[in-house]
Symmetry: C2
């Protein structure tokens, strides 16, 4: 941020009086420009025990596989956002079954909210996807997942499912991925045990 979006004058980075964080301040019009984390909403669509993944047609992580998810927009709810992203990226309609993973990524100011969902339609690649496909657990392309958030969510899901199929076996998982744990994902820790 270089300029005040309200008046167009130059902003400076300083701690406002009574605050304890650096903010972009406009001395001209007095506006304090707060910046806050963004929500990424998506789903874990399942049919006949298989999970629906999308291969990304856009950067970052072009060519890698992800659950359908994207930035929540103003004027929508988290569940609307999750269903919309599933429609846009996977051409699929889902029936949401509850929030499943809530993942904090403080190093990039993001919060993921991924809902378990029942796939209730056909599917097809949207403009942001190269292809969309259903995978059984042993078919998941673990080495080619786009984001740690997706790996965590998929691993939790298959772990939980070993204990049963009822909703009570899929509690909300609060997770945190930071710079350090992120390294693990893209190295060894979270690779399949096989």
């Amino acid at each position: 941020m270089n300029y005040c979006s309200h008046c167009g004058e130059t902003v400076r980075l300083a701690v406002p009086q009574g605050d304890d964080r650096l903010r972009y301040l406009c001395d001209s019009c007095g506006t304090i420009h707060y910046q806050n984390p963004r929500i990424i909403a998506g789903t874990l669509p399942v049919r006949d025990g298989k999970v629906l993944l999308c291969r990304r047609a856009i950067e970052p992580r072009l060519g890698y596989w992800t659950l359908p998810a994207g930035f929540m927009e103003n004027a929508e709810t988290t569940s609307d956002a999750a269903a919309r992203e599933t429609r846009e990226e996977a051409g699929a309609e889902v029936k949401l079954q509850g929030l499943y993973t809530l993942i904090d990524l403080p190093h990039i100011n993001q919060v993921y909210m991924l809902f378990r969902a029942e796939l209730i339609s056909d599917y097809s690649a949207g403009v942001e996807s190269l292809e969309v496909a259903l995978f059984a657990e042993e078919e998941v392309p673990w080495q080619s997942l786009a984001f740690p958030t997706m790996e965590v969510t998929l691993r939790r899901y298959f772990e939980d499912r070993r204990h049963g199929e009822g909703d009570e076996h899929f509690p909300l998982h609060l997770e945190q991925i930071d710079l350090e744990t992120r390294e693990h994902f893209f190295n060894t820790t979270f690779l399949p045990a096989s």
Copy 2:
């Protein structure tokens, strides 16, 4: 938003190519300025069956009672944000016990995340609070609550607690409050049955 925060030129509101929503666009530098919902994180602190409420020293809703909560900041996690707001507004330390209400407010682009918490310290009014106090269910100032989000959370809590005290009796509640339901809160629907 009137000016581009990147280059300082005037922005205009239009739907970018390949998009389906109005965005602030800068024709000078090409930046698309996305705007997204903000997260408000807080807690429902409990000790000896009583809940901790703060009377607001600031607008909006100055003088009304609220659970401690506030805007999540960049570089923190949702649970860190909830604990920080509790410290700032209620001078209290808490032990978080799980996410309890997740409330969408699409008409004001907010998502509330309130955690159940055990109050584990003394408490005192922070600069944004006039006073802080513990309330048994029958003492809660239902007519003087600051926000519908807080009323929903408190009502859910006392309802759930009638079924037992274990964590399994306090599932995550996904709620939505919009302009229409908001009216109900400040009129009759959610007033105590007495």
